[in-house]
């Protein structure tokens, strides 16, 4: 019989430290347990420590066995990934929604990449849910992690939250099992999916996604799944299936592994991020070694079919840009230049792609680039960013996006005062946009900035209107100084041409509702008010018989641009 004063610890090497894996009260049992652990190959070393409690109450520890081995490389790591937030689901439908799936996609990323299954497929397949639940304590840990995070948000006790999540999981499993009893074959086409959905028995979205999952689960590669989804998307044009396809694509493009394969050869992280932005906007050219599906996906993004997926791609760009991996690993000296390229891809005269979160990421990146010079404060980081942007209009778009982000809001009046001063300080178009830019681009830059300012919730009332007016006045001054309207409305040209050109100018979006648009409008009104305008208009059309057609077009444009 073992002595009550002697016990044995079986310790394993984990991260260069000995960690107790088990206790035993018998030396043989302890050694056997240690050998068993070693054989599993999950630990580089295992040892047994004998602990003796002396009569005086103190303990003496002696290592009685220590063995080392090589760790098996094959065992896949499917542990949970850290997450910092988890959106709260209140009803079963929420668990199938995009925020929940994307959170799952991040939390159990390693597992999902290992089995090559999307959250959508898992949540619609009883077999996949069982496989996940059988994977050690993964399900339990995942529920625990999420419930802890959510309890902090809702103020519930974490146990209550945990019970709710466990119950929801059971409900989803039951729902999946019920679908499995239909014993449906995997669909080959969208028609197969819709035919099964028509039979009813469940909510349509659930049935659609269950059928899609059935088909997708037959393909155990991300690219293969994307191929199938792209084929279905082509067949599903105009059906409610498209947003669901977008949802699954979004699930897939969360994976870094997939993104690496999808992008093909990229010289550095910066180039990859630019390519991701191009893809998200449907403007990408496939790179060397990019798979064929890349072009199809790009077309789908261009068509605006993949809105959820676009958010996921931009989310990836935001995290990578704000993260610590170098943008130019192979040429560290080019880090700042590559950063400038990426920044000019996301910050344009039309705004900041990815909004406030992207603006924050830029600030974090520029802080990292300059970290070797000591602590960089927020205001220094902003100055560095503004000086790296090639013109003032871009700088203001950037600051407005930053001001809308949590980080920017935390900066309070410091940031808003800076924006006000920067806007008011630039009183000529040359201070806003470089002289060499084409005139339409220069005008658009100011017009869009005016709209961004007026739509911004950062400023209110008179301040906001005043800033908008200031930009309008800069544009109006440019129109007058450069005689832009005179150049459009050339006196030698036929009246019809002048009138149509002018009205198109008014409706082109390059002018600001206010002083600058009024300048152009008043010229149109001047024409309209001349005696026998219509007769003169018709007479000026050079092509015989086309006069009426042009006049109708002119009237249509008049209405379209707000003339009554």
């Amino acid at each position: 019989m073992a002595s009550p004063n002697v016990s044995f610890e079986i310790q394993v090497m984990a991260d260069k430290h000995w960690v107790v894996a088990q206790f035993a009260d018998d030396e043989e049992k302890a050694k056997a347990f240690a050998d068993n652990l070693l054989q599993k190959g999950n630990h580089a070393a295992v040892r047994v420590v004998r602990d003796f409690r002396r009569l005086d109450g103190l303990h003496t520890e002696t290592v009685i066995q220590e063995k080392t081995t090589t760790v098996k490389a094959g065992a896949a790591d499917v542990s949970l990934s850290p997450i910092t937030d988890a959106p709260v689901c209140t009803q079963l439908a929420d668990f199938y929604g995009a925020p929940a799936r994307l959170t799952m996609g991040r939390l159990v990323r390693k597992y999902l990449d290992e089995v090559v299954v999307t959250p959508t497929e898992m949540l619609h397949s009883a077999a996949e849910m069982k496989r996940f639940a059988d994977k050690g304590s993964l399900l339990f840990s995942a529920i625990d992690r999420v419930s802890t995070l959510q309890a902090g948000l809702t103020g519930e006790e974490s146990k209550t939250r945990r019970d709710f999540l466990s119950k929801a999981w059971d409900d989803m499993v039951a729902r999946g099992r019920k679908f499995a009893t239909r014993k449906v074959k995997a669909p080959k086409s969208v028609a197969d999916i819709l035919a099964e959905v028509e039979k009813g028995g469940e909510e349509h979205p659930y049935l659609c996604l269950s059928m899609m999952s059935l088909g997708l689960l037959e393909t155990r590669s991300w690219l293969g799944k994307l191929d199938l989804l792209s084929k279905w998307a082509a067949e599903a044009a105009g059906t409610p299936l498209l947003p669901m396809i977008d949802g699954v694509v979004a699930d897939i493009v969360v994976s870094a592994q997939l993104i690496q394969d999808l992008l093909g050869f990229q010289s550095n992280l910066g180039a990859a991020l630019i390519q991701l932005c191009n893809l998200a906007e449907g403007k990408a050219e496939p790179a060397k070694f990019a798979p064929e599906i890349f072009t199809n996906l790009n077309t789908m993004f261009a068509a605006g079919t993949l809105t959820q997926s676009k958010d996921v791609l931009l989310g990836r760009v935001i995290r990578e840009l704000g993260g610590g991996n170098p943008l130019s690993r192979n040429e560290p000296k080019q880090e700042f230049e590559v950063f400038c390229k990426v920044m000019h891809r996301v910050v344009s005269h039309k705004g900041v792609l990815g909004g406030g979160a992207m603006a924050e990421a830029i600030l974090h990146r520029i802080t990292r680039i300059h970290a070797h010079l000591g602590t960089v404060t927020a205001s220094q980081a902003i100055d560095l960013t503004l000086s790296a942007l090639s013109d003032h209009a871009l700088g203001m778009q950037y600051l407005l996006a930053l001001a809308s982000s949590p980080l920017g809001q935390g900066m309070g009046a410091g940031l808003t005062d800076l924006i006000i001063a920067k806007v008011r300080g630039a009183d000529h178009i040359n201070k806003w946009v470089p002289v060499r830019q084409p005139p339409p681009e220069r005008m658009i830059a100011l017009a869009v900035l005016n709209r961004t300012l007026l739509a911004s919730s950062v400023f209110e009332g008179e301040i906001r209107d005043g800033l908008g007016r200031h930009v309008d006045e800069v544009l109006a001054r440019y129109l007058l100084d450069e005689e832009v309207i005179e150049k459009i409305d050339k006196p030698d040209d036929p009246l019809a041409l002048r009138a149509i050109r002018l009205i198109k100018f008014c409706g082109s979006g390059v002018l600001i509702e206010g002083k600058s648009l009024d300048l152009a409008r008043s010229r149109v009104i001047e024409h309209l008010r001349q005696p026998q305008f219509e007769e003169k208009f018709l007479a000026s059309v050079p092509e015989p018989g086309k006069g009426e057609q042009h006049l109708r077009e002119f009237h249509r444009l008049l209405v379209q641009t707000g003339f009554r």
Binding site: F23, G136, Q266, R316, C340, A361, A381, D391, G414
Partner: protein, 417 residues
């Protein structure tokens, strides 16, 4: 009563500090009654805390306990001393989000976001299945194995091993293997650098139609590495590579015709090749085109300089900045600053001049001083001398305090003091 065993005390300390493994071990100690009195409620409490942090065993152990009929309801979370809010913390939390001086938090250092748990890894995903490749036993698989060893994907990086796989593939007439082996000889990776061998294998791959091999071969022949230099022959291989859309070959052809190396100088052909390379995004070609066109079509030259500048080519940024000084001083200042930040001393001088006069940029003698100081430190000959004169002159105007204040701003400009 005997004091708590050392190991339990250590576990408790680490567990209370939030160490997941210690929480688990402490929970286990209470569960099994090892070194402490058995106490299931304490065990449940610590195991829950370990599980909440994702400890893989803790959850399972709790499930086991539940199966044994133990109530695993976690005790009400009584906060640990670490979590208990002190009066100071409470007062801090009541402060408004903006800073105490109304600076809006602008003077606070930025806190970096948490690292992404699933970042992109463009240098090798480790998704290479080496065993499967070895089983495949084809030349393509040998090349893939060579790549895996060269880049350490799925195996430890081993360039010597890479060379042996590439050699196997090259000898089996696989052009990718021949090209890869040539690169190893060319750069002396995993094998002693050997121009003759590099040339031999580039030639084999080039003959098989590999565009990159044709381009590298042309470079070697042009430079006379592994063979006598012969620009005519080099030109032929550049053309073959260029015909396959190899952008660098198009640029090299442009450079050959511009300089007339082994061929007659032909600015028209040079421009044509540069234009093709520029369209494919070769920054050097865009820059050279800018230089070619500057005399006769300034607008086009500026466009090409802009393209090259946006790609980060310092020389182009400098030229663009210098050319724009009269017509668009703001853009000139911007590009000169980019070139100056990249270390161009001429750009530093010219930027300083704009800063002193306040052209295209706010007048700022302190910043001008810092750039001049940099130019003096890193420049040579005339540049250093002019910068030195500028530093002396500005120092008189600014005084010691002014200089000290300027130096404090150095990090803000991206300058190291």
């Amino acid at each position: 009563m005997a004091r708590e065993p050392e190991i339990i005390a250590a576990y408790r300390k680490a567990a209370e500090a939030g160490e997941m493994t210690a929480q688990f071990s402490l929970g286990e100690a209470y569960r099994l009654g090892q070194k402490v009195a058995r106490d299931t409620s304490e065990a449940v409490r610590w195991l829950h805390r370990a599980a909440a942090q994702g400890h893989p065993q803790a959850g399972r152990t709790l499930q086991q306990m539940q199966a044994q009929g133990i109530d695993i309801t976690p005790p009400a979370d009584h906060p640990t001393p670490r979590q208990r809010q002190s009066l100071d913390d409470l007062l801090d939390s009541l402060k408004p989000a903006s800073g105490p001086e109304g600076d809006g938090g602008m003077d606070a250092p930025l806190i970096a976001p948490d690292a992404d748990s699933d970042p992109l890894d463009l240098d090798g995903g480790g998704s290479v299945d080496v065993t499967a490749l070895k089983q495949a036993d084809t030349p393509a698989a040998w090349v893939a194995l060579g790549n895996a060893y060269r880049q350490g994907q799925g195996v430890d990086l081993d360039e010597v091993e890479a060379v042996s796989w590439y050699t196997k593939a090259a000898k089996a007439n696989d052009p990718h293997g021949q090209y890869a082996l040539a690169v190893m000889y060319d750069q002396g990776l995993g094998v002693r650098a050997n121009d003759t061998e590099a040339l031999r294998w580039y030639l084999a791959a080039a003959k098989a139609g590999d565009a990159q091999a044709q381009y590298n071969l042309a470079n070697m022949i042009r430079a006379g590495r592994g063979c006598p230099a012969d620009s005519k022959v080099a030109e032929q291989w550049y053309k073959k590579a260029a015909a396959q859309g190899e952008a660098a070959a198009l640029f090299s052809l442009g450079a050959l015709y511009e300089a007339g190396q082994g061929v007659d100088v032909d600015p028209v052909k040079a421009e044509d090749f540069y234009r093709q390379a520029a369209a494919l995004g070769v920054a050097e070609a865009q820059f050279n085109l800018g230089n070619l066109l500057r005399g006769r079509d300034l607008d086009a030259a500026l466009d090409f300089y802009t393209q090259a500048s946006e790609q980060g080519l310092r020389q182009a940024q400098l030229n663009l900045g210098l050319l724009l000084q009269d017509s668009d001083a703001a853009s000139a200042a911007y590009w000169l600053r980019r070139a100056a930040k990249a270390g161009d001393t001429v750009a530093m001088l010219n930027l300083a001049a704009l800063l002193i006069t306040g052209r295209g940029v706010g007048k700022d003698e302190a910043e001008a001083y810092l750039w001049l100081e940099q130019a003096q430190r890193h420049g040579h000959g005339t540049v250093a001398a002019i910068a030195g004169k500028g530093v002396t002159a500005l120092a008189k105007v600014m005084g010691e305090d002014g200089i000290a204040a300027a130096r404090r701003r150095a990090p803000l400009l991206g300058l190291g003091g």
